[in-house]
Structure formats: structure tokens, C-alpha cells
């Protein structure tokens, strides 16, 4: 224990000073952009759009958002230790709770602050008064802390329990959104009553307290598996952010997704190259059950948006919803594009292999577009019809991107040198979406 204290002291002594003011300024400036965009969009809201958001819709979206954040928190830990740290420190005769609590408190504080900021921005956009804004910030902060605490509590439970909670919360969220859509259709959707935020603020704090106690109690019982399970995803996520390349997450996510998949009987494929590849693609798509869930969830986006967004914007909303909806169906395309070894094994030309694996996302994109059509008036269908083109071009350009090069051509554009290949790598997926979105708004 004395040795551990000495190690900590040495570590503290070597810490580099952090320029907190610069960091705060950077966060303020970067966070300011989306806030300004949201405020600008809400200021330009067309007349005739429903201003009062139905309570069922608010609850549904909040629960879905919470389920998604909970899934991310559980996938990463939220309490983590590297394998080396476990071997040399946590695996020894130390009080694991006292060792892990400081970092857990930092995580709680961070997620609480994030929740408070997000809730504050939402309240500001909705035009809340100062008291309402302050109370909403308290609600957001409380829910942020609760979410991390619940994820920590679940970290000590079995995978089945975590999965059940994940499915349950997602199901509740989808049910509320569906209920909201139904009530809106029959004209019986009550909006959020004024007492919800004043009552919700103390309730959020009260809810956080037992959850924090539950999470804190769980920390001492976290074993090596629980503490190190999120390391690969955390490292891949860090690399993906650092190199601005989401593809770096792909392999880790695929391994996680399919590590629990049990196949009772291997399937045969029909003779003939094209038929066999398409049959394999179909089989693989059917096995990715999450793809169907994401597809249905994303399909709800244009219907939900129709309540609060002018009809003119709905094709653009559908386009943005189609990106995550179609992306899981492009797993085969991404794999074939990234793996020259697989292409060599499968034979044929590179282009034929890539085109065959474009079939599944193409079908998904068309189905999504057809499914989104009833969410908007018929005069917006021409703009909506551009959705498959935009989303498939985006998918193709992202899938066929070569690894990022940091030593390529540099061009001086008048405001400093700009790496051409790096810049194209970053915008090649976004560019077709931006172009399609612009066309959809113009048509």
C-alpha cells in the first residue's frame, strides 16, 4: 500500500500543467457552432408548424437517447482499467474501490456536466425563461450522473441482464414514439405540462442518489473481465477520433457484435459466382439483427420530424436518417473494399465484387425512401427520391476510401497550407450528402 502511494505521488509530481483556460475556450468555441446553427434554424422555423411538442414524443426521444448513451457507456465500461494496470495494480491486494473511485467520480462529473449542457442548449432553443433554463440544467445534470451510475451498476451484472436492460429501454422509447405518432394522427397529443420541469428537477437529483450508491457499491466487485472488456473498443474509438477515420472502429464493433452469435446450422450457397455471393450477402444481412432495429428506428425520424419541422425540410431529414439506416447493410461492401486478401480469395475483378456487395445497401436505401414517403406531402417526393443516390454515394465513397495519408500533396489556399489528400479523405463521404441535401432543399 505504501508502495502504491509512492507510485501515485511520483506520478502526480510528473504531471504536465494543463492550460485549462485554453481548453475551456476551445470547448466554448467548438460548442458554440452547433448552438448557433440550432438557434438559427429554430429562428427560421416556418409558420404553421406545431410549436408544442407532445409529451409522449419527448419521453420517447429522451428514453431512446438515454438507451443509446447507456449502451455506449456499457460498451466502454464505464469503469475501465488496462490489462497492464489490472496485472500490476488492481489484481494485487489493494482496495479496488478506493483505487477506482477517483476516476469514477471524474466520469460522473463529466457525464453530469455533459447532460447539463445538452439540456441547457435544448431549453435555450425552446426559449425557456431563466428559471426554467436553470431547472432544465439540473434535470440534464441529474440524468447524466444517473446514466453513468446505472451503467456502472450494470457493469457488475451478467451480459444477459445488461442486454435485457438495453432491449427494454429501447423498446420503451420506440413504444412512446409510436404512441406519440398515433396520438398526433388522431389529434389527441397533449403537450408537455408546465409543472414537468419544476417537479422533474428534484426528482432527477433524488433518482441520481440511489443510483450513485448502487454504482459505488458495484465498483469493488468489478472483476478483470468487467474492467478490461471495453479496452479494445476504447482504444479503437480513440484511434478513430485521433485519425478522424470511423472505419478504424469497424473491426472491433464487428467482433463484439458477432461474438455472441450462435449458428445452429451452416448454410449452403447456390452454384454460380454471382448467385453465391448474393446469397452469402443476404445471409449475412439477415444475421445482423441490429441492422433491422437501426433501420426501423431511423425510419421513425422523418415521421417524428414531421411534427416539428416544416415539410420543405423533410426530404433532408430523411436523407440524414437514411445514413445510419443503410450503413449496417453496407458491412459486406466495407469488408470487401478494405480486405484485398478477401478479394483475392473470392476471385473475379475488384469492381464486380464491390458492385455485388452494393446490392444490399441499395435495396435498403430504396426501401427506406419508400417507407419515408408517407411522412411528407406528395409534392416533396421528388426531393425525397434523391435520398438513395446521396446515401449510396456516401456509403461507396466511405467504403472505398484508401487509408489516410499524412504525407501527401500540400496546397496553399491563401490561408495557410492545406493537405489535399487528407482534406479529400475527410470530406469525401460528407460531400455527396451535402450536395444531395442542398438539392433537396432547392427542389
Amino acid at each position: 500500500m505504501r508502495l502504491l502511494t509512492q507510485v501515485r505521488r511520483v506520478g502526480r509530481g510528473r504531471k504536465e500543467p494543463t492550460d485549462w483556460w485554453t481548453l475551456a475556450l476551445a470547448v466554448f468555441v467548438l460548442a458554440g457552432f452547433p448552438v448557433q446553427v440550432i438557434i438559427g434554424l429554430s429562428a427560421g422555423r416556418a409558420p404553421g408548424v406545431t410549436q408544442a411538442i407532445p409529451i409522449a414524443l419527448t419521453v420517447g426521444v429522451a428514453v431512446l437517447l438515454g438507451a443509446m448513451l447507456l449502451a455506449v457507456a456499457m460498451a466502454l465500461g464505464p469503469v475501465r482499467g488496462s490489462a497492464a494496470e489490472y496485472t500490476w495494480v488492481l489484481g494485487g491486494p489493494v482496495d479496488r474501490r478506493s483505487e477506482l473511485t477517483p476516476r469514477w467520480v471524474r466520469t460522473l462529473t463529466g457525464t453530469g456536466a455533459l447532460g447539463a449542457v445538452l439540456a441547457g442548449v435544448a431549453a435555450a432553443v425552446a426559449g425557456a425563461d431563466p428559471v426554467g433554463l436553470a431547472l432544465t440544467v439540473v434535470v440534464g445534470g441529474g440524468l447524466g450522473v444517473t446514466l453513468t451510475a446505472v451503467a456502472t451498476g450494470l457493469q457488475g451484472r451478467t451480459a444477459q441482464v445488461r442486454r435485457a436492460v438495453q432491449v427494454g429501454t429501447t423498446g420503451v422509447g420506440v413504444a412512446f414514439v409510436g404512441l406519440a405518432a398515433l396520438l398526433i394522427r388522431v389529434g389527441q397529443a397533449p403537450s408537455i405540462p408546465g409543472w414537468v420541469v419544476p417537479v422533474g428537477a428534484p426528482l432527477a437529483v433524488l433518482l441520481a442518489v440511489p443510483m450513485v450508491i448502487w454504482g459505488w457499491r458495484t465498483i469493488a466487485a468489478l472483476d478483470r473481465v468487467a474492467l478490461t472488456a471495453g479496452n479494445a473498443l476504447f482504444a479503437a474509438g480513440g484511434a478513430a477520433v485521433l485519425f478522424m477515420d470511423p472505419a478504424l472502429l469497424g473491426d472491433v464493433l464487428a467482433q463484439r457484435r458477432f461474438s455472441h452469435l450462435l449458428i445452429d446450422r451452416s448454410r449452403s450457397f447456390p452454384a454460380g459466382r454471382r448467385r453465391a455471393l448474393l446469397a452469402a450477402e443476404w445471409l449475412r444481412t439477415m444475421r445482423n439483427r441490429r441492422a433491422a432495429g437501426v433501420f426501423i428506428g431511423a425510419l421513425l425520424v422523418p415521421y417524428t420530424a414531421a411534427i416539428v419541422v416544416p415539410a420543405r425540410w423533410l426530404p433532408a431529414v430523411a436523407l440524414l436518417g437514411a445514413v445510419p439506416a443503410v450503413s449496417p447493410f453496407g458491412a459486406g461492401l466495407r469488408k470487401v473494399c478494405q480486405s484485398a486478401t478477401l478479394r483475392r480469395m473470392l476471385g473475379g475483378t475488384d469492381s464486380s465484387l464491390k458492385l455485388i456487395h452494393l446490392a444490399a445497401p441499395a435495396v435498403a436505401a430504396v426501401l427506406f425512401t419508400l417507407g419515408a414517403a408517407p411522412a411528407m406531402p406528395a409534392d416533396r417526393w421528388i426531393a425525397l427520391a434523391l435520398t438513395p443516390i446521396g446515401v449510396l454515394t456516401n456509403l461507396w465513397l466511405r467504403a472505398t476510401a484508401k487509408p489516410m495519408e499524412f504525407d501527401g500533396l500540400v496546397a496553399d489556399l491563401g490561408f495557410g497550407p492545406a493537405p489535399v489528400q487528407l482534406s479529400w479523405f475527410l470530406v469525401r463521404g460528407i460531400a455527396p450528402l451535402a450536395l444531395t441535401l442542398s438539392l433537396q432543399l432547392v427542389i
Binding site: A254, F258, S259, I263, F269, A271, A276, R284, R344, G348
Partner: protein
Amino acid sequence: MAEQPLLRVSDLRRRFGEHEVLHGLSFEVRPGQAIAVVGPNGSGKSTLLQCVMGIQRPDSGTVTLRGTPLVESDPAVRAEIAAVDDSVDFFPDLSAAEHLGLLAAVHDVPDADAVVRALLDEVGLTDQRNQLPGTLSSGQRRRLALASGFVRPRSLLLLDEPEQRLDGQGIDWLIGRLLDEKAVGGAVLFASHHAGLIDAVADERLEPAGPSS
């Protein structure tokens, strides 16, 4: 033994920075012939195989298949060469049997199901046929990789240390398989450290000289 070489490598050079790993290497592989690439770690065995596979581009020299420059992305080349090295990749959501079945189907293997069943039995993966690659042990994955090379028709088999993670029984199976390959006119180019495998299979040995400044 046929007259015309299947694979011809001429004056192959590959340099990494100041270190030249392959110094003007030339050789031929004919149908029914097996050539073992031998030498210590870092001597350029894998680099040579990767240059032949088209994974690495040599600094100079030529690699031809049936007299035509070898281009890895050419469908005809892909139909003739089966390669198994450390970079073998799998779909994460297809089982071991499905991988082999897919390869057999896309390469038009007749009675693919029976071929796959027999091969799974040969490599000892019958019990793991329904497992996904991510759930196989490293040794089982290696055997699946080897099976992926044998499940499809080929003229040239390229193997980089195929003995890796195989037990004694597995080595015996591999020797038998490679001898059968030669007997039906297949050509084999393989890198190996296993003296028994080399002695039993190789008609010639090739030793890249290793790095030099």
C-alpha cells in the same frame, strides 16, 4: 515434368530504406514442382512470397505467370493462385463451413458440400464447422485458412509458413496434401522453417540472401 514454367521470377529486388532484402532473385516454378523458400527470420521469405502474391510491389524485376506479367487484381491470376499467409481474412458473420462453401461456390467447385465436409474433416474442424472465425482459436483459424487454399481449384499454391500452429498430426496431413498437389500437376511455392516438411515436399530450396546495406 512439364517444360514451360508456370511461374517465372526474374532479377527481383526489394529494398526497405537502406536495407535490400531481395537481391536480384531469379527462379522458376513448374507444374508438379514444389520449391521451399528457406532461411532465418528476416531473410526475406515472406517479402518474396508477398511480391509473388502481388501484396508488395518489387523495386525492380518481373514476376510472370504462364509468361504474362502477374497482376494481382487480374481475375485469371486470382483463379490460378491460391495463397495462404498471415493476412488471410474472413467475414466476421459467416461460419467456418460457410466460408469454405462460399469459396467453393464462387470458384465453381462441383459437389461443393461434399468437398467442404471432407476438407473440414481433414483439418479437424468438423466440430467447429458452425463457429464464426472470431470464436475459433488461433490454431483453428490457421487450419481454416489452410482449408481455404485447398477448397478451390488452383494451379499455384503459395504458402507462408503453413506449419505454423499445426501439431505433428497436422504436419503429416499437410505433407500428404502437398505431395498430392504435386502428383496432380499443381505447383507449390512455400516458405517454411520445418525441416521435415521441407525434406518431404520440396524439390528445390531457395534461400534469399537476407538484408544488406
